[in-house]
């Protein structure tokens, strides 16, 4: 770092500060023989820190268990952790560092769709596998990048699975309340597309600012149009707000949340009575078959952290096992070898056998999709996953 030329005193100071910055850099060192996996997740604001922490816990547990069992092909496995802050440019640069500095064999733990889509370019540029699990944008797999894989759902699939449910319940007028993000508007578009197969259902999308604190105006507007059902497509805070304020302004429709946010701990304390009758879709149900691998994951997670893992953590676990299976097949940890091996990798996942669909030109490329969607209803205050009534299943 002696790259600067002789400078004025002030510029000299700048150089010193810069040089100091470089020397103090936290350098991660890895033994030659270790297999390194990159974890790039939202670990600080404005990223989704709550999910980021859950991701990190899952990853740490997996690494610990694998190394206790002797590693993969006799080599120890290490995790190189990077924070994407929920920002595209940070996530992209973090992934690049995972690849160039830590020599990661594969990148896992990526979360927000917009960040993932940015990171896909890095995966392509360096030919390193990128495994997504809860980045829901169709684009992640529909772009058909050879390096990108997903064990987890995608927007248009979830929207399509909502359609039979809407038909089953006999809704005639449905409003989608969507936040102005990739998540909210992405779903709204996909659902509008999917609902074309139900000409008898009239559909309206009401958009709102994601960071809003007051939805009474939106809910009054929706209430006045007297729909049969409102699908609230937003992350948890506005989910709670829309339910509470919707009932406040006399909304009588059934409320279906975008995902299983009502299972989060602050649901009942913030919505109270208004939460009764809310329906939520999820991939997780006690009736779901959990494999031996899955049961082992649940038990060790409970032992380590004292709580049950959420369903997305199952998929992350499968992501890690996919990489493990690919390394075992190829006997190599070189990223390019894994990119070649992953499409045909098959292994026992947490809720069934996992294999990728490889239909080029479609969203089902490097995509696993064998999950059932459960619709569950909360019938009294305080209901959790175990008490919720199963009202419909889409296989």
């Amino acid at each position: 770092m002696n790259g600067f030329l002789p400078l004025s005193r002030r510029a000299m100071l700048a150089t010193l500060a810069g040089a100091a910055a470089v020397t103090i850099l936290p350098t991660v060192s890895f033994a030659e023989d270790d297999i390194v996996l990159g974890l790039v997740s939202p670990l600080s604001e404005p990223g989704d820190v709550r999910s980021g922490e859950a991701i990190k816990k899952t990853a740490d547990l997996w690494i610990k268990k694998i190394n206790e069992a002797g590693g993969i092909i006799g080599r120890k496995v290490k995790l190189a952790v990077y924070d994407d802050q929920g920002k595209v440019e940070v996530g992209v640069s973090a992934m690049e560092r995972a690849v160039t500095e830590a020599n990661a064999s594969a990148i896992l733990g990526v979360w927000s769709s917009s960040v993932t889509i940015g990171q896909m370019e890095v995966a392509k540029g360096y030919d390193v596998p990128l495994l997504a699990f809860y980045s829901w944008s169709d684009e992640v797999t529909s772009k058909n990048y050879p390096q990108v894989f997903r064990i987890g759902p995608y927007n248009s699939q979830i929207a399509a699975q909502m359609v039979p449910f809407v038909k089953e319940r006999g809704y005639k007028k449905v409003v989608v309340l969507a936040e102005d993000t990739a998540y909210g508007l992405g779903f709204a578009k996909a659902f509008e597309e999917a609902a074309k197969s139900l000409p008898e259902v009239s559909l309206e999308v009401v958009q709102f600012q994601a960071q809003t604190q007051d939805l009474t105006a939106h809910m009054s507007k929706i209430a006045a149009s007297q729909p049969d059902a409102v699908i609230v497509q937003t992350v948890f805070a506005a989910t709670n707000l829309s339910i509470k304020q919707g009932r406040e302004v006399g909304l009588k429709a059934e409320i279906i949340t975008g995902w299983d946010w009502p299972l989060l701990p602050d649901f009942w304390s913030t919505v109270g009575d208004a939460g009764v009758g809310v329906i939520y879709p999820t991939f997780s149900d006690p009736s779901m078959t959990v494999t031996k691998v899955g049961q082992d994951f649940i038990d060790s997670y409970k032992a380590a952290y004292g709580s049950d893992p959420a369903i997305f953590q199952y998929y992350l676990w499968d992501n890690f096992n996919a990489v493990k299976a690919a390394i075992e097949t190829t006997k190599s940890s070189a990223p390019a070898d894994l990119v070649k091996a992953l499409p045909d990798t098959k292994f026992e996942g947490t809720i069934g056998p996992v294999f990728f669909r490889n239909e080029a030109g479609t969203v089902n490329f490097h995509q696993w999709d064998k999950f059932a969607m459960f619709f569950k209803k909360l019938n009294k205050v305080g209901d959790g996953e175990a008490q919720a009534e199963l009202v419909y299943v889409v296989k």
Binding site: L5, A21, S44, V88, T100, G118, T181, L185
Partner: protein, 319 residues
């Protein structure tokens, strides 16, 4: 410092950009330097507007965002090369800045920060809500200026842009317009009395600094490749203001020192955990605002003067 020294500093930046690029640095350090150039352009031009012309605008990052989105728009819609954006966008944002000035400068004093704040706020709502046009929080993508992951072109460009900024700043401050800007800041009524067209000077200051903000935005868009509304959050504007204030408002190298201090701080304190970064940075900025109102440069300068005087006094006594 003499005039030629100010130009020498600009030249040093241009050369060191090339030097660093040819030596090659770790990607993380390259990213740090490149984005620091973006912040320097922003904080430096805000310092010109607030520190020298006395016009405290809170729409500055908004103008950079307009420049960045503008770049993405012309690259995507008309297939214009990203390089051309460096020429087109500053003109475009200077025009917006001029319009903003024409409108916002109808109010005076502390109302100016408020009205510009409102413009920036409304623009941020638009960027997020009009997702059909802007991509909303999903972001707006554009192809990179140089394909691949090589940072050297951007390092060279950073050096050149910083050099260009200092050259422009020198031209403005050493020219007639700079003097008039400072007269408007210091004694608006007196300046008016001696026949300075105050309104015109203010609008020019808005246009020049908006052009520089647009240049920063075009650079950001071309380098990062994905734009999101978070680019113009309140805390980003706060960061830019903090950079200018820490170094010293109204000092030619105030923004440079501020950018160095804040970017290094950001870098060092990352290790404590990201949530502490913002606390430490804002605490430092607040302390400087409270106790070193003229900024670090002036505070250090005074101390140096004092110690020089003491030494002289001591040596005089000894002899």
């Amino acid at each position: 410092m003499t005039k030629s020294m100010h130009y020498a500093i600009a030249a040093i930046f241009a050369v060191s950009g090339v030097a660093i690029a040819s030596i090659g640095v770790k990607p993380i350090f390259a990213d740090l330097l490149i984005l620091s150039a973006y912040y320097l352009l922003l904080a430096g031009s805000w310092n010109l507007l607030a520190g020298f012309a006395g016009q405290y605008s809170f729409a500055h990052v908004g103008l950079a965002a307009a420049g960045a989105y503008g770049t993405a728009a012309i690259v995507n819609a008309f297939g214009v090369s990203g390089w051309l954006a460096f020429l087109i966008i500053p003109v475009f944002t200077a025009a917006i800045g001029g319009l903003l000035g024409l409108v916002a400068l109808r109010v005076r004093g502390v109302q100016l920060p408020l009205i510009t704040f409102a413009f920036a706020g409304a623009f941020a709502v638009f960027l997020a809500a009009a997702s059909d046009i802007t991509g909303g929080s999903m972001g707006m993508q554009l192809p990179k200026l140089v394909a691949g992951f090589d940072r050297s072109p951007y390092l060279i460009l950073s050096g050149l842009l910083v050099a260009a900024f200092f050259v422009i700043q020198n031209l403005v401050l050493d020219g007639r317009i700079g003097l008039l800007m400072q007269s408007v800041r210091d004694e608006e009524e007196v300046a008016r009395g001696i026949g300075v067209d105050i309104f015109r000077i203010k609008v020019y200051a808005f246009m020049i600094t908006a052009g520089l903000a647009g240049l920063a935005g075009a650079f950001y868009a071309n380098y990062v490749g994905v734009l999101a509304p978070s680019m113009l959050s309140m805390s980003e504007m706060g960061m830019v203001v903090a950079m200018a204030v820490i170094g010293g408002l109204g000092h030619r190298y105030g923004a440079l020192v501020g950018v160095i201090v804040i970017r290094s701080l950001e870098h060092f304190v990352r290790g404590f955990g990201a949530e502490y970064t913002l606390v430490i940075i804002t605490a430092v900025a607040l302390l400087v605002v409270l106790f070193f109102r003229e900024g670090i440069i002036a505070a250090v300068g005074k101390r140096l003067d004092r110690s020089v005087q003491q030494r002289r006094w001591a040596s005089a006594k000894a002899s």
